[in-house]
C-alpha cells in the first residue's frame, strides 16, 4: 500500500459542523504523526490511528503537537472568489529519534476533537538514526499555505 497526499474527505464535511477550530491560543490542539511508507493514509483517513505509525526511540505514539501561532486568514481575489488558508507557525520537529523503518507521510489531526483527521502530506521515504526529523512549513500565503480552501 502507499500513502497519498490529500485533504481528508471527512475534514471537508466537518468544516460545516464547526468541528475544527484553528484559532490560535483559544482553538483546538493539532498534532502531527508520522506513517511508515508501507502504511495507507490518504483522503479516506478519518482519524488518527496507530496502525502504520512509525515506532522508535524517543518517538511517542500520536506524534508531536503542531505550533499554531497564526489563525486562519482569508483574502478575496475577485467579487466571486477567494482563498482561506492556514499554516503551522513553526517547523514540526521530532528530536533525537531513531526511526529505522522507512516513513514517508505525516498526518495532521485534531487532538481536541477525537483525533479527527485533517490532512496527509507526503515526502520522499526517510529513516532517522539518533537524529532529528524536521518538517519545515511553506510560507503562509494564499498560494503556498499548507492548507488552502479556495473558490474560483
Amino acid at each position: 500500500m502507499a500513502n497519498t497526499q490529500a485533504m481528508c474527505s471527512s475534514f471537508l464535511g466537518e468544516l460545516m459542523t464547526a468541528t475544527h477550530n484553528f484559532t490560535t491560543s483559544t482553538g483546538n490542539t493539532f498534532k502531527a504523526a508520522l506513517y511508515l511508507a508501507s502504511a495507507t493514509v490518504n483522503a479516506s483517513t478519518t482519524a488518527y490511528s496507530s496502525t502504520g505509525e512509525v515506532t522508535g526511540t524517543n518517538y511517542t505514539a500520536g506524534g508531536v503537537s503542531v505550533t499554531n501561532g497564526t489563525s486562519p486568514l482569508s483574502t478575496n481575489t475577485s467579487t466571486t472568489a477567494g482563498t482561506g488558508y492556514w499554516t503551522p507557525s513553526a517547523s514540526i520537529t521530532y528530536t533525537n529519534v531513531t526511526l529505522s523503518t522507512a516513513f514517508d507521510a505525516v498526518l495532521i489531526y485534531n487532538f481536541s476533537a477525537s483525533n479527527k483527521a485533517v490532512s496527509v502530506h507526503t515526502f520522499g521515504s526517510q529513516t532517522v538514526t539518533a537524529g532529528t526529523f524536521t518538517l519545515t512549513m511553506p510560507s503562509n500565503t494564499t498560494s503556498t499555505a499548507l492548507l488552502r480552501l479556495a473558490t474560483t
Binding site: F123, T132, L149, T151
Partner: protein
C-alpha cells in the same frame, strides 16, 4: 561540534560526515549522516514541503 549518536554524544572530528539533498516539485530535503568505522551512528533529515493540499469550494446557483 558534539553530535548525538547511537554510541552517545561524540565529537564530530571522530566521525565521517556525509550529506545530501533532494530537490523536486514536492519537497526540498537535506540530510546529514555521521559514520563510525563503517557504521551509521547518526542521521538527521530536514524536509521542506513545497506542495500544499487545496480544497476547491463552490456555491451552487439556482439556475
Amino acid at each position: 561540534m558534539i553530535v548525538t549518536t547511537t554510541k552517545g554524544d561524540m565529537d564530530d572530528s571522530l566521525l565521517e560526515k556525509k550529506e545530501g539533498f533532494v530537490d523536486n516539485d514536492d519537497e526540498y530535503t537535506t540530510w546529514v549522516e555521521y559514520w563510525l568505522d563503517g557504521e551509521l551512528v547518526h542521521r538527521s533529515v530536514h524536509v521542506q514541503l513545497k506542495k500544499a493540499v487545496v480544497l476547491t469550494a463552490a456555491a451552487a446557483s439556482f439556475e
